[in-house]
């Protein structure tokens, strides 16, 4: 009887279109935020923060970007890693060439740079669809991989091609401990996830979904396909770009182009499929899942006293991801998010199932 909407009447359309129309969900969200902002930094070890929470949040952010494009607008992209790289290298170049820029401004501009590149590579989406487009986005991935490896200006002519983020601060406040990095990322992810949610429940989101579900009908009710698709590419790449900048500056610290190669793109696609196409919540669930598999493969056999070799872990990881993708596409194309929604549905009816 805990999870009920009975007695909660919506008196305005605004209430009805709220992100969490049901009170229990609002409480749930408040608790999660309290844990994320208060309990975790207070209780968790540095290892947990740096190796689990930080990559989790950044992955989730990049996955949101991809999901806006693929899950909402229906344009499959295999180039997310490339767009993350644009964000990372844009941030790097801004930081070293214009040192007086505020870090937040750098992240925003990095996202903007990625958005512009995303739009350029989104142009073919006007003429080509489905897996043709997916292949076209691979072009973006390979081109960007190459550009950051071979065009030395991007890496400021460092001989090894590997670059490092300068010391970071915001308004004179140094971002130099795991907790501080974590707070910064958490704040950015919170704001951007909310923005994504707002976009998908409004005009732009509907035009994306219309294009996804039936582009011909969308055009006939007055949606301009090019505009809708390019805006999806732009917003999606903006998210990926910011995620890339965060990944480089706050997670890796120093990196080379390989950090954003095609495997990153695939991993993000897997998060979106497993978490749920067309769900913001799903991005978080998917990111958590993809991060947990290698951890589990590492920890569980070790705990059982028969540790696996690194190569073995990586092969098993491939097999598990592959199998999960097929499984979810067959059993639940809307992923973990949908399973969660179904569970809530059950709970709402419990203990009277009819």
């Amino acid at each position: 009887m805990l999870y009920r909407e009975a007695g909660q009447f919506k008196t305005t359309y605004g209430d009805d279109q709220a992100v969490f129309p049901i009170r229990q969900d609002r409480w749930g969200m408040a608790i999660i935020l309290a844990i994320a902002y208060v309990a975790l930094p207070w209780l968790a070890t540095d290892y947990f923060i740096t190796s689990i929470m930080i990559p989790f949040l950044i992955y989730a952010l990049a996955a949101i970007g991809l999901n806006l494009l693929t899950g909402y607008c229906g344009q499959v992209s295999l180039g997310t890693g490339g767009f993350m790289a644009v964000g990372a290298y844009a941030a790097y170049n801004l930081a070293i060439r214009v040192p007086e820029l505020n870090l937040i401004v750098i992240f925003i501009l990095a996202g903007g740079a990625a958005a512009m590149v995303g739009v350029v590579f989104g142009v073919p989406s006007l003429r080509i669809k489905g897996f043709y487009l997916a292949v076209a986005t691979l072009a973006a991935q390979f081109f960007l991989d190459w550009a950051f490896a071979r065009i030395k200006w991007f890496t400021n002519y460092t001989p090894s091609g590997s670059v490092a983020a300068p010391p970071l601060d915001i308004f004179g406040f140094a971002i130099n401990t795991p907790d501080r990095r974590y707070f910064l990322i958490l704040a950015i992810v919170t704001v951007m996830a909310l923005a994504a949610k707002n976009l998908v429940r409004g005009r732009v989101g509907r035009s994306w979904m219309a294009i996804r579900d039936m582009d011909i009908a969308a055009e006939i009710i007055g949606i301009r396909p090019l505009r809708a698709k390019l805006s999806a590419f732009a917003v999606s790449s903006f998210f990926a770009g910011v995620a890339g900048a965060l990944w480089a500056f706050l997670h890796l610290g120093a990196w080379e182009p390989l950090a954003f190669d095609i495997n990153r793109s695939f991993l993000l696609l897997f998060m979106v499929i497993i978490g749920g196409l067309g769900s913001i919540l799903g991005c978080f669930l998917g990111a958590a899942f993809i991060l947990m598999v290698p951890l589990a493969l590492n920890q569980i056999p070790t705990a059982l006293g028969m540790p696996l070799s690194t190569a073995m872990i990586s092969h098993l990881e491939f097999m598990i991801f592959g199998a999960m993708i097929v499984f979810f596409l067959i059993a639940e194309p809307h992923g973990l998010a949908r399973l969660w929604a179904l569970a809530k549905e059950k709970l709402r009816l419990w203990p009277f199932p009819h």
């Binding site: 003429r127 489905g130 190459w146 695939f266 592959g322 993708i325 596409l329």
Partner: protein
């Protein structure tokens, strides 16, 4: 001039290898509308199976066993992936094959190991000089490349005969045109799927032998498939001649670009040049070289 032709020729030969991989894609796409991203992983898997089996048995038997493995693989894919996803949108199936690709990459390396294995099935590998009568000094090529080209040619011929002359082949073509019509030919759709996946498994084995002999059997072979994708875009997903011509264009274009304009860009443009070429081409002719233009209906 001789140098230009040497590069061009080398490009064509590389193109033949791409075409070999692209052919596997086309077969499956034609018969089932599935864009099989796992084709590259299949090439690796087939090559790995062969090279490890060859440690235990004579080459011909190892080859037969590898063929059998690819057929079993086709059966499993049909049962566990295609059948449950029948009637789904193409893009869902595409993503499923990405999953399949990851799975067999992991599975193959778990079962067969993940080192670099040297594959020697007795293909010649000597540089020779050809066309001396046409150019001063002739053109330097590798015998191996010539053999690869011959193999690809043979494979295409065999497939063409298979499609044109046999009952199953005709049924396959019918499926490509119209799933309903295919039913009336009297071969169940499922069997057709198993047959095409097996066939493209065998094509993958051939590609694996050629690539594996050239590069050694190793994980990177799986990525060769990515090279075949621009070929498909260029040639159209449904056209066997398209795969060949597309392969030649991409192979030659890539090599010429690397040699003549690559240095100005800092080299390594091979990795994306083919894609850009294909993309530009798509903007002009979205259906590919040999594809048919469709006007959508409402």
């Amino acid at each position: 001039m001789g140098f230009f032709f040497e590069v061009l020729f080398g490009g064509f030969l590389a193109g033949v290898l791409y075409a070999l991989v692209a052919l596997g894609f086309v077969l499956i796409f034609k018969a089932s509308g599935v864009f099989n991203f796992a084709q590259g992983a299949m090439v690796l898997f087939a090559a790995l199976s062969l090279v490890r089996l060859m440690e235990w048995m004579p080459i011909p038997i190892a080859m037969l066993a590898s063929v059998a493995i690819m057929i079993v693989f086709a059966l499993v894919v049909e049962r566990l992936v295609l059948r449950p996803l029948v009637n789904q949108e193409g893009i869902i199936l595409f993503m499923a094959t990405i999953g399949v690709s990851y799975f067999i990459d992991g599975f193959g390396q778990t079962v067969w190991g993940s080192d670099v294995y040297k594959l020697d099935v007795g293909l010649p590998n000597e540089p020779v000089i050809i066309l001396e009568s046409l150019f001063e000094g002739g053109i330097l090529v590798n015998q191996f490349d010539l053999v690869a080209a011959v193999i690809a040619g043979l494979l295409v011929t065999v497939l063409a005969i298979f499609f044109q002359k046999t009952r199953i082949g005709r049924a396959l073509r019918a499926v490509a045109d119209d799933h309903q019509a295919a039913q009336s030919v009297g071969i169940p759709l499922r069997d057709i799927w198993v047959i095409v996946w097996s066939t493209s498994g065998i094509v993958a084995l051939v590609a694996g032998i050629v690539w594996g002999s050239a590069l050694g059997v190793q994980f990177s072979i799986s990525l060769v498939a990515l090279k075949a994708l621009p070929v498909l875009i260029l040639g159209g997903f449904t056209s066997v001649p398209g795969a060949i011509v597309g392969g030649l264009i991409i192979g030659a274009g890539e090599k010429l670009a690397e040699v003549y304009i690559g240095p100005t860009f800092g080299g390594g443009i091979e990795n994306w040049f083919a894609y850009m070429l294909a993309l530009l081409f798509l903007l002009v002719r979205p259906q590919g070289l040999f594809g048919e233009r469709i006007i959508e209906r409402v």
